[in-house]
């Protein structure tokens, strides 16, 4: 019995300690003197994390916008309210779907790759050799990846929203025959730039930080074996997805909870 309580305590201490480690890790790697070399590394990561994720995010956005319009239309038409389709598509995309789905895709597409890359660097002792020759791996390896993720995901989220709204227009207006003027007009009347677009972007900034932080930390702190890398990659996707969905609920409650 006492053994069990002790095990619980040990688990609690370990969890807390690794959380603290992750926090120090984040602070140390995110803030530092920017340099030309750092910019070059950041650019490289932006290309890998942002530009290369563009295709999957935009295609998903298109399909999600189209499905939203299709499903929304079949329900709204029963109430003779199919004119409100634009507002439904735009609000659900901007407030919820774009930040969340883009972050989930980002965790799967870019987060897992970041973990595996850094993990392999650790397993092949590249990180230790960097320290040996006096290069700080936090600055050299981790910081550009963190900043790239932090900048790339909000941009991807914007792309997701734009393509989704356009996809909804494709299905709603071109195919199902909602009047184009009411699609855009109702959308413009109900979407507020600060409250809806701004809050959506704020959400995606939070998700960007959390997802890249989890991905990079899991890679940095893993057990340097092949099994360890596979476990850490899995953990990145699982933790990042759970964190995004959980944080989304909290952020939604704070941002839109009072405004029904």
């Amino acid at each position: 019995m006492i053994e069990r309580i002790a095990r619980l305590g040990r688990w609690g201490c370990d969890t807390l300690e690794s959380l603290g480690d992750a926090g120090i890790f984040l602070a140390q790697s995110m803030f530092g003197k920017p340099s030309a070399e750092g910019m070059r590394l950041w650019l490289r990561q932006m290309h890998f994390v942002g530009v290369m994720s563009l295709a999957i995010v935009l295609v998903s956005g298109l399909f999600i916008g189209m499905v939203l319009a299709l499903q929304g239309y079949t329900i709204l038409v029963d109430f003779g309210a199919e004119d409100a389709l634009g507002q439904m598509v735009a609000l659900s995309l901007l407030r919820e779907l774009a930040p969340v789905v883009a972050a989930l895709l980002f965790a799967g597409r870019a987060g897992s790759a970041l973990t595996a890359e850094i993990g392999l660097m650790k397993a092949t002792e590249q990180l230790t050799s960097m320290e040996m020759i006096g290069v700080d791996p936090l600055r050299r390896v981790v910081a550009p990846r963190l900043w790239a993720g932090f900048v790339a995901l909000p941009l991807l989220t914007i792309g997701f929203g734009v393509v989704g709204v356009w996809g909804g227009q494709l299905v709603g207006v071109q195919w199902l025959g909602v009047f184009e003027g009411s699609y855009w007009g109702n959308m413009q009347a109900s979407v507020d730039f600060v409250a809806d677009v701004g809050n959506g972007l704020l959400k995606s900034l939070v998700f960007a930080l959390v997802v890249t932080w989890i991905a990079v930390y899991q890679g940095y702190a893993l057990v340097p074996t092949s099994e360890g890398i596979s476990r850490a990659t899995t953990r990145t996707v699982v933790y990042a997805s759970l964190a995004v969905l959980g944080l989304d609920f909290i952020l939604t409650a704070v941002m839109f909870g009072g405004l029904s």
Binding site: L43, R44, I158
Partner: protein
């Protein structure tokens, strides 16, 4: 070097696309207009019952949107709803003092909004003035109750 240039171009295009997307969301989706509304002014009105009116609801005049509801709170002097409206500055000092404000519903199940109709008095409403003539929201339960009690009387 060659590869780095194409990479820079790719990242640059990506960021440009993101910014353009944000502009699209602003102008096309949320209907932000580039020219800021020159000015606005506030009017107050007390309603006996606001029904389902919410902050940010539309204020219309002859069907044209001319402003938004800024805040709604309970007036503890009269125990009715105190509504502050923000209207287009072009209407300042042009609306007659006896204009009326009514809470209307768009469609059968739609959102509620405030409809202004013009009066005929020579004095006009300025910033911070109060519209006295107001009409409450239609509450379905009250209508039914009235209807039922009328039937019962007969």
């Amino acid at each position: 070097m060659k590869r780095s240039k194409t990479m820079e171009l790719g990242v640059g295009l990506f960021m440009l696309a993101g910014i353009l997307g944000l502009v699209f969301l602003g102008l096309r989706v949320s209907g932000l207009s580039l020219e800021r509304p020159a000015s606005s002014f506030e009017l107050e009105a007390n309603f006996a019952n606001i029904g389902g009116l919410k902050p940010r609801a539309r204020i219309t005049m002859a069907g044209v949107t001319v402003g938004r509801v800024r805040s709604i709170e309970l007036d503890t002097d009269w125990y009715d709803a105190h509504v502050v409206m923000e209207l287009d500055g072009r209407l300042e000092d042009t609306l007659p003092e006896d204009s009326t404000a009514a809470i209307l519903t768009s469609g059968l199940l739609g959102e509620q909004y405030i409809g202004l109709s013009v009066g005929g008095a020579p004095e006009t409403l300025g910033d911070g003035d109060r519209i006295r003539d107001t009409q409450s929201a239609l509450v379905l339960e009250e209508l039914i109750q009235q209807f039922v009690s009328n039937i019962a009387k007969e």
